[in-house]
């Protein structure tokens, strides 16, 4: 039997090898292999490999059965790709567009098994199997779903990426363009220029490889769209703050957030019995609270998330273990809990920071690294005896308009009598 070796067959097998290699890469990467959304993506890549192998074999043997299997695998590949992106962006595999996809793909599968859906054609000196009539149209239509999903995912990730990972997000978008726009464009063009089918296969597979490598290198890209993590705060059972960390500016008012943490401590025992976790939905975002035996940890985020809740539970557990001795001693000194940053790196490493919005945004070094005139410094130190408060005010002073410090000292003097009266009352 003479095998039908064509450029299409070779490029299809080559694409299968590239995507198989990509799948192994994502499996072997310690950083991302256990992320659920990556698992969905890996299933998609594996289905793509099977699709390309069956497609290549069907052309090689000019076999309709193998080609029908390949067409079915295309449907499953696109389905899993949509589910992956739904999960990445919403932590849920369902979306309204899935219904539309179900209708279109239902017709696609029906037409696949109609007698004239597959045609052996002779183009440019090569034999190939073409997807004819309506079936061909629906094949393009379901691939269009993949194109739209991929393009939007890539574009929105790039657009919303914090500037520190903007470059990676751009490469990710380019990979997505190559896989979606490139793949689809050349697929359409190959109907007139047969050789372009090789470019289609390679463009798609190289695009997938780029996307996966960028995700391995910068897993934060997966968490740009689902929610915006704002801050975490740890308090002991008496309400003393022990540790704080910010990822972005929170829309939830500081006083409201602290109020919730304090309120929750009143009902701590009941909450622990319920598993210790509580989501409070506010107009400005979500406060997720986790109460354990010795601490109450609160997170502010734009949306609730299963991944966040899991990270919060693990963080709390490790925090209690790491600072067991200090917590037993009822030590409230925040400086002694600074090592908790290592736990942030361990449990929240995938969530991007948005504290600085652009690389051109003016920055200042925190007050302990800055010098202000000695006279002013001495005066401020007498007014603000608490060191942390003094540094916070100093940080504001640097950002305030000219002469604010002088005006502040004048106002302080002006209110002297009322201050004394207040102090006497206290």
């Amino acid at each position: 039997m003479v095998l039908n070796w064509t450029i299409e067959v070779i490029s299809t097998f080559l694409a299968a090898i590239i995507i198989f290699f990509t799948s192994i890469l994502t499996f072997r990467s310690k950083e991302i292999s256990k992320i659920r959304s990556v698992m969905y993506l890996r299933v998609t890549w594996n289905l793509t490999v099977l699709f390309y192998i069956s497609e290549g074999l069907s052309y090689l043997y000019l076999d309709f059965t193998l080609n029908r299997i390949c067409a079915l695998l295309l449907f499953f590949t696109i389905l899993f790709f949509i589910l992956s992106i739904n999960y990445i962006t919403k932590e849920s595999i369902f979306s309204k567009s899935l219904i539309l996809f179900g209708v279109v793909s239902g017709l696609y599968v029906y037409l696949l098994f109609q007698p004239e859906s597959l045609i052996i054609s002779y183009t440019n000196g090569f034999y190939t199997i073409k997807w004819g009539n309506f079936f061909g149209f629906f094949a393009i239509l379901i691939q269009f779903f993949m194109f739209v999903y991929a393009f939007l995912w890539g574009y929105l990730t790039w657009k919303n990426a914090p500037f520190l990972i903007k470059r990676e997000a751009f490469i990710f978008f380019l990979g997505m363009l190559l896989a979606s726009v490139g793949g689809n464009l050349f697929y359409l063009l190959h109907l007139w220029l047969y050789y372009l089918i090789a470019v289609t296969n390679l463009s798609f597979s190289i695009g997938v490889l780029i996307i996966s490598i960028v995700i391995i290198k910068q897993s934060k890209l997966l968490y740009i769209l689902p929610f915006e993590l704002c801050r975490i705060s740890v308090k002991d059972q008496e309400g003393n703050p022990l540790f704080d960390h910010d990822w972005s500016e929170s829309k939830v008012n500081e006083l409201v957030f602290t109020g919730f943490i304090n309120a929750i401590q009143v009902m701590s025992q009941e909450l622990i019995k319920m598993g210790g976790l509580l989501d409070i939905h506010l107009q400005e975002g979500v406060v997720i609270l986790h109460e354990s035996e010795r601490v109450c940890v609160g997170i502010v985020s734009s949306k609730s998330s299963k991944a966040l809740r899991e990270s919060l539970v693990h963080f709390t557990k490790d925090f209690e273990e790491l600072f067991q001795k200090l917590l037993k001693e009822k030590n409230h000194n925040m400086k002694d809990y600074e090592l908790a940053y290592t736990l942030i790196e361990k449990h929240f490493a995938n969530f991007p920071s948005r504290l600085i919005r652009s690389d051109k945004q003016p920055l200042i070094l925190t007050p302990k690294y800055l010098e202000i005139p000695q006279l002013l410094d001495n005066k401020l130190k007498t007014i603000f005896s608490n060191k942390e408060e003094y540094e916070r005010i100093k940080a504001e002073l640097i950002r305030a308009p000219l002469f604010t410090s002088e005006d502040f000292l004048d106002l302080y003097d002006e209110l002297k009598d009322e201050i004394e009266k207040l102090e006497n009352q206290e």
Partner: protein
């Protein structure tokens, strides 16, 4: 691989470059810091970005953009102080401190700092009245603000309420109606008189006609119902 800390030599070197930029009076931005550190330290891009991220995460480098009228209110406590001044027109400094303390205890210095920032950006204004400093929303006239302040006192409020409801009240009998000490009531009448809110003619008290509507407006704002009102 050991975790990156602020004590790490490369982090310290980047920090030194940041300090150097500040001393040169240059605007410190991530881009400028990155470029100079990259050029001088030859640290790979990812490593350098990790260091900058660490400095941002640990709040060694913070947002340095100048305050604007909008951003000045993004501070939660300052915003809270502003909302008190807006809602409790005529509040004076000590009362304001008590109100703020009931939600979040801050030092007197910090309260004055926030007030200064609100004054600086023309969000509020202050008026000195006797020994008190009154803080007002920027669009409230000083005189109106002082009337609001005076009406926070219960005796002043009762006097003006009575005068709004009944005319021809006798000064000498008012303390009996109010069930207060005579000297106290006389003192309050004098204050209101001195400030041109009420007048006394042959022992008969009345609200200065030009102020009458203002007082009614304030009562309405304070949700105080007058007997002769519909």
């Amino acid at each position: 691989m050991s975790a990156l800390t602020l004590e790490h030599s490369s982090v310290q070197k980047v920090l030194e470059i940041a300090e150097e930029l500040v001393k040169e009076n240059k605007v410190l931005t991530t881009k400028i810091l990155y470029n100079r550190a990259k050029h001088r330290l030859k640290i790979p891009r990812n490593g350098l970005l990790k260091i900058i991220q660490l400095l941002i995460d640990r709040r060694v480098i913070v947002d340095g953009s100048r305050f604007t009228r909008d951003s000045v209110l993004s501070h939660d406590i300052r915003n809270f102080i502003y909302s008190i001044i807006e809602n409790e027109i005529g509040i004076h400094f000590s009362e304001l401190k008590r109100k703020v303390d009931s939600v979040s205890a801050i030092s007197t210095g910090q309260l004055i700092w926030h007030l200064e920032m609100l004054l600086k950006f023309d969000l509020i204004k202050k008026v000195k009245f006797t020994k008190y400093t009154i803080f007002l929303p920027i669009d409230i006239e000083d005189q109106l603000g002082i009337i609001y302040f005076l009406l926070k006192d219960e005796i002043n409020l009762s006097i003006l309420k009575l005068l709004s409801e009944k005319s021809n009240l006798q000064k000498s009998n008012l303390y009996e109606t109010l069930e207060e000490e005579r000297e106290k009531v006389y003192y309050h009448i004098k204050t209101l008189q001195d400030y041109g809110i009420i007048m006394v003619k042959a022992d008969i008290l009345s609200i200065v006609p030009e102020i009458e509507n203002t007082i009614k407006f304030i009562f309405k704002n304070m949700h105080i119902q007058l007997i002769n009102e519909d």
